[in-house]
Amino acid sequence: MAVDSCTSAIRTEGLTKRFGDLIALDGLDLTVERGEVFGFLGPNGAGKTTTIRLLLRLLHPSAGRAWVMGVPVEDVARAHQHLGYVAGDVALWPQLTGTEVLHLLGNLSGDVDAAYRDELLQRLDLDATRCIRTLSKGNRQKVALIAALMHRPDVLLLDEPTAGLDPLMEAEFQQIVREAAARGQTVFLSSHILDEVEDICTRVAILRSGRLVEVATLDKLRQKDVTVFEVVLDVSAGATPSFANVPGVVAEEPADGAVRLSVRGSPQPLLAELGRQRVVSLRSREPDLEEVFLGFYGVADRR
């Protein structure tokens, strides 16, 4: 299908979903460019799955709009030609074999690259001759992954796709995603496994209680506001003090005689507090993604 080369892979404008009184997604404005591996982060119930189901038009938005490769998502026949999807909770027909499921879903998607499908079966080490009923959760996940990838869609919507995969298969999955991105496919990866996002994503969005908190590249995110201080204190006189109530401190990990503190914004209040302690050593560094992530939610929890 011809697509304007300037078109974003995914775009949403004020996308909102309410379930009764609950606001599951609140005015999401998001643009994912083609060829990106985009991480979509948030704790359980933040609205990640709701967003993906809105993009698939399995849910109807309460307000706002969304496009996939420039096609409004309500035009499902056209929009879905560009999409591959793996659900967080894979549900397949227990009485069918993996081969039958792939055959059925391939017929519905069309344009299956049979050689690529067979390659994926081999790389993910899946015996597709078995009935779905007898497959483990991880193996069902593999069937869903292959079904989503085998027609080489422009955009892959992956909702926590590695839940159930062993570390070896997770590494293989990450390699497959990198190759897909190298071919120009866009990957929208919802996850709360921060290492995975850190390993393969170029840009991430952070969602909290249905609201977009941040969208940035990983590098920018690390530089953003949060700094990690590793402090060793002389505590011969007593226990390690707590810095939890110091303004700006969003996470505190005490260890024996030392403490790791994530600070958002100016470190001035922390430095003032440290001035009153007997500091043996002080080191600051950029946070890893987990510390950034905790930074966002830590602030929320303090409110």
Partner: protein, 547 residues
């Protein structure tokens, strides 16, 4: 700060230990079956009450009641309904006339529910949540059996109570109630036992229902001649008949279902710890040769998913209808001989001026009920695909919702039409074998007349799926049963015409004198089409919903 306050787990989880675990499992099992139990209790009570009231209305005096006794001379009638006992009393009549159908309904319900709660919960993996608690598999199964026992007790009470409330003798009511409740418990225990041996749920249901069907066939054979009546001793449905409630009151026969129930339940409990959780004693093969038949499109796949069940429905209904066909000759003889029975049939809406032709109309109305119920099941199966999340796989691959539901609707109607065709053929063969005085068209016409009703219930089921998906099966099936009961018994109970006219069954053909009107055909078909279209629109506009 990311610190978690400890949740008060003790408030939401039962304490460790077998007794609280057993109580919690019992409460869970009861919760999973209570709605179905309430419905079956209500149906049992209503059915028995209506039978008593119909008897009093149709057979008001001793002379008319005396003639009913002659019914036992008809072999074919007694093969289906059993050997009549004291049918000149309201209790004896109700137990004989309605008991056979009620025991089939109760038996099937208990079997299906027991399989759902055991094999179904294990297939879905939910049972593991319970078994991971400090509770043995035996205790969990015993708790489930106890919940089914409560349901069976309720069935007994609701089948016996109407007789007492309507002033019939207490002894027969208690015996009949105990018998039906015990039969319900036997079917539940048998279903639980089958679930230990066979997997997956689909296969366990087939085996369980097959055993029940076998038991019913044994009963039919047993009733075909006095010299074969000993067969009643070996079939669960026969034990209920051996009780002879309201005539000889053979209390001793209550031991048969009691012993069988204990044997089946004991065997199930003994076997449950000899197998793995989630698996049966006979493991089904984890693989089969992949076949790509009917995997080319969503529509064809929908047909593949439902074809096995359609075959089951078709075989069962075809067999029943074939027997109905065979009964034609016996019925004609009886109607010609017995004025009271003729009046009873007339009061229930059958034209007996040409009994064979009238009987065909009666059979068609009776079959319209399973046809309508089939649609509730068929569209309900589509809802199951949605609830389980499997429908997502289709709808994220460019399958447009309105088209999917429109095709599903068309296939549901087509499947019901296939049922109409196969049953019509079976009825025709049955009538031919006994040389019934009927032309082919006289057999076919009333059966074809059920198609507008099938269209109507297709629409009702699809509209329910669109508007209130969780009620997709319950609403059409309940409306069909209510409609059938209003039509069947409303006339006998002299209900106003306006009430009777509300039932779509009331507008079906009553040959030879009362064919289906064009208005009824057009009205039912157009309401069916409109509600189906409304259902499709509602489905397109709503979100997909899980279980």
């Amino acid at each position: 700060m990311t610190t978690l306050a400890p949740a008060p787990l003790s408030a939401v989880l039962p304490a460790a230990g077998s007794a609280p675990g057993f109580a919690a499992r019992l409460a869970l099992s009861w919760r999973l079956l209570r709605r179905g139990a309430a419905l079956i209790w209500l149906a049992s009570a209503a059915y028995m009450a209506i039978e008593v009231l119909v008897f009093r209305s149709a057979y008001p005096d001793a002379a008319s009641r005396q003639k009913l006794l002659d019914l036992s001379t008809s072999t074919i009638v007694r093969m289906m309904q059993g050997v009549p006992g004291a049918v000149d009393t309201a209790g004896g009549f109700a137990v004989w006339d309605g008991g056979w159908l009620l025991m089939i309904i109760v038996g099937c319900w208990a079997m299906l529910t027991a399989t759902r709660l055991t094999r179904g919960e294990e297939d879905s993996g939910r049972a593991e949540l319970v078994l991971a608690r400090p509770l043995t598999a035996r205790a969990a199964l015993a708790a489930h059996l106890a919940a089914m026992g409560i349901a069976a007790g309720g069935v007994g009470v609701s089948a016996g109570l109407p007789f007492i409330l309507l002033g019939e003798p207490m002894g027969g009511a208690v015996l009949w109630g105990l018998g039906l409740g015990a039969m319900c418990a036997v079917a539940a225990a048998l279903g639980t036992l089958v679930a230990q041996v066979v997997e997956p749920r689909r296969r366990a249901v087939s085996v369980g229902l097959g055993l029940l069907a076998g038991a019913f066939v044994v009963r039919v054979v047993a009733n075909s001649a006095d010299r074969r009546s000993w067969l009643l001793t070996v079939a669960p449905f026969g034990w209920l008949e051996r009780l002879r409630a309201y005539s000889d009151d053979e209390w001793i026969w209550l031991f048969a279902p009691l012993v069988a129930m204990l044997l089946f339940a004991g065997a199930a409990v003994a076997l449950c710890e000899r197998r793995d959780a989630g698996a049966a004693l006979f493991r089904s093969s984890g693989t089969h040769r992949s076949t790509f038949r009917l995997l080319g499109s969503a529509a064809r796949f929908g047909w593949r998913l439902s074809s096995g069940a359609l075959l089951g429905w078709a075989m069962t209904l075809t067999l029943i209808t074939f027997v109905f066909g065979l009964m034609t000759a016996a019925l004609i003889d009886f109607v010609n001989q017995d004025r009271t029975y003729r009046e009873l049939l007339e009061s229930m809406g059958m034209d007996v001026s040409a009994p064979a032709v009238g009987y065909m109309g009666y059979v068609a109305v009776f079959l319209a009920l399973p046809f309508a119920a089939f649609l509730g099941w068929r569209v309900g199966a589509a809802r199951q695909e949605e609830a389980a999340g499997r429908l997502d796989n289709l709808l994220v691959r460019g399958v447009v919702r309105w088209r999917w539901l429109a095709v599903t609707t068309g296939c549901a109607f087509l499947a019901a039409a296939i049922l109409v065709v196969t049953t019509t053929a079976a009825l025709w063969v049955g009538t031919r074998l006994v040389d019934a005085p009927l032309t082919t068209w006289q057999v076919v016409e009333p059966m074809v007349g059920t198609l507008p009703l099938v269209a109507l219930f297709t629409g009702v089921a699809v509209l329910t799926f669109g508007v209130a998906p969780r009620l997709t099966t319950a609403v059409p099936v309940t409306l069909a049963v209510l409609g059938y009961l209003v039509d069947s018994f409303g006339s006998a109970l002299d209900w106003p015409t306006a009430v009777l006219a509300l039932s779509p069954f009331h507008h079906l053909a009553r040959p030879p004198g009362d064919p289906m009107t064009l208005t009824a055909v057009l009205l039912m078909t157009s309401i069916g089409a409109a509600t189906a279209a409304g259902g499709v629109v509602a489905f397109v506009r709503r979100d997909l919903r899980g279980a």
